[in-house]
């Protein structure tokens, strides 16, 4: 009787989660959807504790208390620019929890009885493997986005071979586990090998592709939780885990489509990219514009298209950009913002950033809407964007970007680029836009450059 009660409650809460995710797909209901999912989760916690008789209440509440404090502190204090890496890190923690859950339940079973059922062994293995890959993969994604490690695709000798070796070891581990289910050491070894595999799978992916990787790892953490649901016999875990796993795969595919690259290309592409593209140093000269030059071009234009990119976010210059737009609009210039689907570190990143700076929504245009307008634009101002305006992706078959739809920034009459330096940027791919005859660069930090340009515009 008791059990049925809880089964029904958990089923209702699962429905709450499903509806929550559904509502998150639509702008009007997104905030409510998030709240509904959070509320369902909170109730699920309470009922889970109740079902277990509130055993060991104090240490459990202490752990949840500390976890909540850390979670809320990070969520409220992280800068919007650092938000993708926070999502990556949180995701990794979920993967870690899955590994720990599977391991501890396996240990407990083994101490009670000698043999594990085949189903238990397999689902425990899945939970540990996927959870460990998620953990280390997410940590690498975090490090790349925080630029605490190289953001380029890292390739080393025999990497393909080593990665395949580790993948096979994980599979072989399953065979051993099935034959010797009583050996906890095999599970621990599998966890360790999977953790290394997670690192191997993510380091050859360039920093600019991290959003896709994070979405995929997000899906993995759902799969790990789902497998753990089999291990601890919780239907709610299976449902929620499968839900996140499946929706994560779809979202990952959507992101790849926006880049017009296949998922295979994103994950394994670096192994096959021509090294010359990645390593060649700049040979043609880049024309330099002073802030005054830029200000002249901008104020005398009738149509200006702004192309924001990650550099805008890093420099926290979104408000300055809006201020510049306001000054130009006062001089009768028409301002448009072109938002590429993968500009920034995550899809929608630029939209959030510009909304934060009070840029009016109706000035933002996506790729399909604005691409034909570039040839009618007098000036295109590129602030911290690089790959999304790289003409090589149209014509250069050797480029890792080949085939990705880009913004036609090069078709504007004058292209002004705000760039930190002469280097090749985050993903290490050379961009011929910077050396075109109609391009000029204002070097320096985006915020500092914008401040100077605004001053000059005001004085015109």
């Amino acid at each position: 009787m008791n059990n049925i009660f809880y089964q029904i409650i958990f089923l209702l809460l699962a429905v709450g989660l499903v509806i929550g995710i559904k509502l998150l797909s639509s702008p009007k209901t997104a905030k409510f959807g998030n709240a509904l999912a959070a509320f369902s989760m909170a109730l699920a916690v309470i009922f889970t504790l109740a079902e277990g008789g509130f055993n060991k209440f104090m240490p459990i509440m202490a752990c949840m208390g500390f976890g909540s404090v850390v979670g809320i502190a990070w969520a409220q204090r992280v800068k919007m620019t650092a938000m993708p890496q926070l999502v990556a890190l949180l995701n990794g923690f979920g993967g870690l929890a899955s590994v720990l859950v599977a391991l501890s339940e396996t240990m407990r079973f083994l101490s009670l009885q000698a043999d594990l059922s085949l189903g238990f062994a397999i689902t425990s293995w899945v939970s540990i493997v996927v959870g460990a890959i998620t953990l280390t993969g997410s940590v690498i994604a975090y490090l790349k986005l925080e630029e605490l490690m190289s953001t380029k695709a890292i390739i080393f000798f025999a990497q393909r071979f080593i990665t395949i070796l580790f993948s096979l070891s994980v599979l072989v581990g399953l065979i051993f586990i099935v034959k010797n289910p009583a050996c906890i050491f095999l599970f621990l070894l599998t966890a360790f090998i999977s953790a290394i595999l997670g690192v191997l799978l993510v380091i050859p992916i360039g920093g600019a592709d991290m959003p896709v990787v994070i979405s995929l790892l997000n899906s993995y953490s759902g799969i790990a939780a789902m497998a753990a649901g089999f291990v601890v016999e919780s239907n709610l875990l299976i449902i929620a885990g499968a839900l996140v796993g499946a929706s994560g795969i779809i979202l990952t595919r959507l992101m790849c489509q926006a880049m017009n690259r296949s998922l295979i290309n994103v994950i394994f592409g670096a192994f096959y990219a021509k090294q010359s593209i990645l390593l060649k140093s700049e040979q043609k000269p880049m024309r330099e514009f002073s802030p005054m030059d830029a200000a002249m071009f901008l104020s005398t234009a009738s149509r200006v298209i702004m192309v924001p990119g990650y550099g805008l976010a890093v420099s926290q210059a979104q408000r300055n950009l809006r201020e510049l737009s306001d000054e130009l609009k006062a001089k009768g210039v028409n301002i448009f913002y072109a938002i590429h689907p993968v500009a920034g570190r995550m899809p929608g990143h630029m939209n959030v950033l510009l909304a934060e700076a009070d840029v009016p929504y109706n000035e933002l245009y996506d790729l399909d809407q604005i691409n034909s307008e570039f040839e009618n634009a007098d000036v295109c101002l590129i602030v911290g964007a690089n790959d999304v305006v790289n003409p090589d992706s149209r014509t250069n078959k050797d480029s890792p970007l080949y085939g990705m739809p880009i913004l036609n920034a090069d078709k504007a009459k004058t292209v002004i680029v705000l760039k930190r330096g002469k280097g090749s940027g985050f993903s290490g791919v050379e961009n011929p836009l910077f050396t075109l005859d109609n391009s000029g660069l204002v070097f320096g930090d985006a915020k500092a450059s914008l401040v100077k340009i605004i001053q000059e515009v005001k004085s015109i």
Binding site: N91, V101, S104, N351
Partner: protein, 92 residues
């Protein structure tokens, strides 16, 4: 076991269907929100912690609770914060 596999398949189909049309600007909050939901592993950690596990088992369960809680709480709060940015200028 077979019952659970039914649930797995149906829930996966549901997951595929629910994410059919998402405007680009919602990709990130959606990813963040579903990340928070993947913290459901917290429930598994709680269930285990409440059982008899021995020292190491308990330790792993408590650690799992700690990390899963950060995942869940942090995830929902940061998603809410992202969505709050769109509130002022919705609808085009």
């Amino acid at each position: 076991m077979i019952m659970q596999i039914y649930i797995l398949v149906l829930a996966s189909l549901l997951g595929f269907e629910v994410i059919s049309k998402v405007p680009t600007m919602l990709h990130t909050p959606l990813m963040s929100g579903s990340n928070a939901i993947s913290g459901i592993i917290l429930l598994g950690a709680l269930a285990i912690a409440m059982q008899d596990n021995g020292f190491f088992g308990d330790l792993m369960a408590y650690l799992a609770i700690f990390f899963a809680t950060i995942n869940v709480v942090g995830g929902f709060f940061v998603t809410d914060r992202m969505l709050g940015m769109f509130k002022k200028k919705s609808g085009r």
